[in-house]
Amino acid sequence: MSDRPLAALTRRRASLPLLAVVLCLPPFYLDAFWLRIGLFSMAAAIGAVGLALLSGTAGQLSLGHAFFLAVGAYGYAWLAGEPGPGLPPALAALLAVLLAGTAGGLFSPVAARVKGIYLGIATLALVFLGHHVLLTADSVTGGFNGRSVPPLTLGGFTFAGSDPELTVLGVPFGAEERLWFLGLALFAFTWCTARGLLRGRPGRALAALRDSETAAAVMGVDVARHRSAAFVVSSMYAGLAGVLLALAFRRVVPDYFSLALSVDYLAMIVIGGLGSVSGAVAGAVFVTALPLLMTRYADQLPLVTAPGSAEGTVGPTEAARYLYGAAIVLVLLYAPDGLHGLARRTRDRVRRRRTRTSAPDTAVPASPQPAAPARPKEHTP
């Protein structure tokens, strides 16, 4: 009986390097289209983890995530670029993340005062304000046409198509292939730090805050400090996601950082399952990659015609929208606790079936997460 958790642990330890190897494979096989989707998904995952921390765990609804992404993306482009201070790109990336954190910190007094849906509306203002500034502050943001993003360099190695030319195992490594590994590294960093945060004291304090502020305060949680810290940390993840997005896009334009993007991020954490890191990641991949892939492959479906062919037919983009909408409805209907909850239930069921066949007395499901599964509780008035 006592070797069960240990076995689970070793299995986990074995599957982690395997997963890492599998994630390293795509650049060797897939072309730029797939790698870009992967990059966008990784960036979205980083941002979604940040939002999951803020909205899922700490229970602060934020519609302003697009703004912090923009701060990260534009911050990097400006700090590393021309016109701008022209700092070394690695330093600029770090500063951009800090800048996003600062922006979150500046906004946190507001976050400390208003709650629930009211905070959502207050953060909404950030998106509109940000979009307006991006359009009008030409010298910094490049106005409507945006600005190009200088490639990241780390110790003489550039994450771009050349300099140095690189061929690994016969595969020429261009910008996408290199950025893939950068994205993986940043994603791993996010994964580890966010899990550490959530499983440690801060995570428990934030969850306590979400469930009842009074109870949390009685337990000795500094309410104001934790609320604003959640905002700062979440904005920093958003900033990091923004930097990676900027690198993947190679050019940042204001129209991308709109309200729709914020809503996408909210959708990610709801679909993934509120309050868990892996859920946010799954949701991010779902929301980012699915529409892109569906648009790409919808023309293989029956009854879907080539774009722009004739009157009254369904084109690939329309078909993709229907399918995507249906997928969201299905997920929310059959997995109200998100993809994360769905995965956990499936795992438990499989394990229960397995233990039932071998030894019925060991049917104690090992909880994969010490933290209690987040209750989807929208607001504490």
């Binding site: 299995r11 060797f28 096989y29 730029a32 106005g143 409507f144 595969v171 050019r251 329309e318």
Partner: protein, 425 residues
């Protein structure tokens, strides 16, 4: 318990080693590894690159068939497809058939950027890219890939890039022509005020640049009203302009805004001439209640003639389009799409004659055209990247009965002061 642990550990190591071996072995047969350099020589001795093989030339189109510019996108896609069919029926270009790969991005930047990554390795040029934010996001990629691109956007900020060609005039040139038209025919004189309602962003900013310059020259004052693409009720703007006592109004926005502006102005008794940039009108407006007011007050400046014009090239095109797509309206998108495709065809032919169809060859052939005339408007000069391809504009007027809803008022001519403006810029 211990042996179990060791066993597990060993399996883990074995799995990892196996996976690594698999990776090494499998990359050997990865298709990416052997692809190497795409450019080479085809059997007929032609230099070829991405998008061109022994019997096809592939062109790409990043369009919007499901977003705010769906009508425009559809017209252009159909017009260009019609061109491709005509060319192929004639034996193709360079003994190759022309194929257009259409991708719909629905006015979404992220979708467009991924769609570009998807089609870019397989096409030689892009005769259609819709959406200013999309064009903006792709500027660097297009430049790097030397992919000759005809964006369906006319901002002067897109000039000066070798691979990107704004066809016809830019928004600022159009507005200079508009101001000149107002002063010449509508009796505006020194000291008068004109209003300019414009979209936030590239389009509006560039148009305002032109109107302010021209107004400064003519001694007029410009009262600017910035609006958003989502504003479709312009009552507030009309009141503000009325308060300013404007004698004429320029509008650089979308069709919905033009209809609102003209409709509201007419109903409130602000009966002044209104001149719109080319994207501000669509034939569908002539089926709205604003139609009589539009017919009475509106003029449109455009680098392209009206679809109803009696230019032989235009008439031929309209006839075959109506035959091929009897249910689709013939609008300015059809004309501009077909024109772009024809210009692209001319570039491809020239590049073929010069011995190569790589992307660089196509751009080079394009930049060598100093008098490209498709018979669908004015000839264009592509040799100077910093200058609009043409400075001549038509003045059009809505007419519900005409094909495409507009008729020509003035033939193409270069407005006074345009040369001075361009050299001063």
């Amino acid at each position: 318990m211990n042996p179990t642990y060791r066993n597990r550990h060993r399996t883990a190591q074995a799995a990892l080693a196996g996976a690594l071996a698999l990776l090494l072995a499998a990359t050997g047969c990865s298709s990416k590894a052997e692809s190497g350099d795409d450019s080479g020589k085809a059997a007929d001795g032609l230099r070829t690159g991405p998008g061109v093989d022994a019997d096809t030339i592939r062109l790409g189109a990043l369009t919007d068939l499901t977003g705010p510019y769906a009508t425009l996108g559809k017209s252009i896609v159909q017009a260009q497809q019609m061109w491709a069919d005509e060319v192929n029926a004639d034996g193709g270009i360079c003994d190759r058939t022309v194929e257009i790969v259409v991708k719909d991005h629905g006015y979404d930047v992220q979708k467009a950027v991924t769609a570009y990554a998807d089609i870019a390795p397989g096409v030689v040029a892009l005769p259609q890219v819709i959406g200013s934010p999309v064009v903006a996001a792709l500027l660097d990629d297009i430049e790097r890939d030397m992919m000759l691109t005809f964006p369906q956007a006319w901002a002067a900020s897109l000039l000066g890039k070798d691979a990107i060609q704004v066809l016809g005039t830019t928004y600022d040139v159009d507005m200079i022509a508009a101001v000149e038209f107002l002063t010449r025919t509508k009796g505006l004189k020194k000291g008068d005020t004109i209003g300019h309602v414009y979209f936030e962003g590239d389009y509006g900013a560039n148009a305002l640049e032109g109107s302010e310059w021209a107004a400064g020259k003519a001694g007029l004052k410009v009262a600017g009203q910035k609006i958003q693409a989502t504003d479709t009720d312009l009552s507030a703007q009309v009141s503000a302009l009325r308060k300013e006592g404007v004698k004429a109004v320029l509008i650089s926005a979308g069709p919905a805004q033009t209809a609102s502006l003209v409709g509201v102005a007419a109903s409130r008794g602000l009966k002044v001439p209104v001149v719109s940039s080319a994207p501000g009108f669509a034939p569908q407006l002539m089926k709205t209640p604003a139609a009589p007011a539009l017919a009475a007050m509106l003029n449109i400046v455009s680098a392209a003639p009206a679809v109803s014009s009696d230019l032989p090239g235009v008439r031929r095109m309209v006839a075959s389009y109506q035959k091929k797509y009897p249910k689709s309206p013939v609008d300015s998108g059809v004309l501009s799409g077909y024109n772009a495709a024809q210009l692209m065809g001319a570039d491809l032919k020239a590049a073929c004659e010069a011995g190569g169809l790589t992307r660089e060859d196509v751009v080079q052939a394009h930049r060598a055209q100093t008098n490209a005339d498709t018979g669908l408007g004015t000839p264009q000069n592509f040799s100077d990247v910093d200058r609009p391809a043409s400075v001549e504009t038509y003045v059009l007027k809505p007419d519900a009965k005409a094909v495409g809803g507009v008729v020509n008022v003035e033939d193409a001519h270069a407005a006074e002061g345009v040369e001075e403006y361009l050299s001063a810029r």
